[in-house]
Symmetry: C2
Subunit: 180 residues, 2 copies
Amino acid sequence: MEHSLEHTMSLLTRTPAALDALLRGLPETWTFRNEGENTMSAFDVVGHLIHAERTNWMPRANMVLQSGETQAFEAFDRWGHLQEIQGKSLGQLLDEFARARSESLDELRALNLRPEDLARRGRHPVLGAVTLSELLAAWAAHDLTHLHQISRIMAHQYREAVGPYSAYLGVLKCAGHSSP
Amino acid sequence: MEHSLEHTMSLLTRTPAALDALLRGLPETWTFRNEGENTMSAFDVVGHLIHAERTNWMPRANMVLQSGETQAFEAFDRWGHLQEIQGKSLGQLLDEFARARSESLDELRALNLRPEDLARRGRHPVLGAVTLSELLAAWAAHDLTHLHQISRIMAHQYREAVGPYSAYLGVLKCAGHSSP
């Protein structure tokens, strides 16, 4: 399946409401526990999504359009969510994520991107040349990576409670594949 | 984290709305595609969750309470969702899942389970003795396994579109860990 801006936007639009429906009001044992040292809780992941929204996706899309490959994107701080979550409740973070995403999508829509814009290249500080199309597809897949991670973090809390059923629960065998 | 009936129910309550927020109205390229031969689409997974709701969780919980270990649970048909999805739209399946889950939770609440009930054992046809507590914890973790799977199936559709970003997207490296 090739990248489609319409498909990307339809997914990006839904993620905040999906996380809200899953996480808001859950007991903190589901949302504040992580998978061990140097790993994230579901609460942390929502903070990370907010941080990426503010510093990664649309800022980099704008850089592709304005500077092309002449200037590399600023490095993304994978632990930058620590400043986003300080002193906040999960409900506040879910509200912030929904607001930040909605603003990003307004900004993206206002660009009225044409196919030739999507083929333009920027420069990622590690990956090198990336097209705007790849950046926008990665934004959607990044939402899915973190939904995948949240379901794994939460299932991890029940790894002993399920007893012999662990044999059938693939999510308990997931090693994470990436950090964070 | 030990099993808590309250925590299990709080998660089970949220899954239908989370899937609804994520999937309803998405372009079919996200929801009807799978990961290759003999794999499920997101649409199939919702059918599987309905099938498990009708034939697996509460029916087995009732068997533990009524028959203990004397009689093994009926085998679960992992492809039984095929009969659930025939001729239906994703919207219909999401409605059905929400209704079936709500009925299951009403039934579970009405049992007024005490700690000693949760320790009672039934007999799984493959896994052998399982406690009611393990069965109920597995029900919640099963929701999470399929949320994990849906996010992976959907990300798979963008595996080429993301270009070099695939290096950073853990969900694209997930091998699935279990079938289906």
